[in-house]
Symmetry: C2
Subunit: 121 residues, 2 copies
DNA sequence: TACTGATATGCCCAACAAGGAATACAGCGG
DNA sequence: CCGCTGTATTCCTTGTTGGGCATATCAGTA
């Protein structure tokens, strides 16, 4: 996946500004609606109208989410005539979501295990 | 890094619930204060008191952030006498942050390039 | 230029989240 | 049992954010 080919990032002296910017990136992914948008774009670019149908979000609302994802670098924007095509900027999003889903599964299964084996292990 | 050794996560039919849970995971990282906490724990476990000093957060406030990071599975909690030691649950957090930092650097440098090369490319 | 369809933006409201202060709780020592 | 220290929780206030709605902008076309 795209994650392993990245050079070591800044690790020391994280200034408050840097923390805020990184937090902003995470915040862009911290919304079910936006994750739904990203998922809808997983298999190729879509127009806003397409996304309105697939996500069920209101047009204005959707547009705002798209702006946010574009501003944080997760989406590319291409105008083609009347339509605007949005697409995933790269594979990082998918990788990030996979990590989170993996963690989620782990936590859920281990939570289940904790329940079933409580007091018996 | 820890990201490549993970099996493919759930990709199809992301129910709203799943999206919300994943979003919650991202939201846990979507706060400068919590990122600061995680950074402080990068080199080993620390007590709440330690973290109060290193992060400059109020004790109550810090405790709440710790609960949140613990609830989302990013931190482990170990009681040792009066003290509670918090530690990173695994390396995923670091990997995730590296990805975000890498993206950030890319975006910043390309933004700079856009400014310096505008109308000249 | 006027008109239409696609997208973006501004305004408002409700829900939420973070920080501070005070307080409650847990474990140790006397 | 009591006091002390470290940690968790509650209440309150304030700032932020998502959603709906109306409206503005933009691009193509007659």
């Amino acid at each position: 996946m795209a994650l392993k080919s990245r050079p070591a990032a800044v690790k020391r002296a994280p200034t408050p500004e840097l923390l805020s910017m990184v937090a902003g990136r995470f915040r862009a992914l911290a919304e079910p609606a936006r994750l739904g948008i990203l998922h809808a774009l997983e298999h190729g670019p879509l127009t806003v109208t397409d996304l309105v149908q697939r996500t069920g979000l209101g047009q204005g609302n959707l547009s705002k989410h798209l702006q946010q994802l574009h501003a944080t670098g997760f989406l590319t924007r291409t105008r083609k005539g009347l339509f605007v095509h949005y697409a995933l900027a790269d594979d990082d999003v998918l990788a990030l979501c996979e990590v989170m889903c993996g963690r989620l599964e782990n936590d859920l299964t281990s939570a289940r295990a904790t329940i079933t084996t409580r007091r018996t292990g």
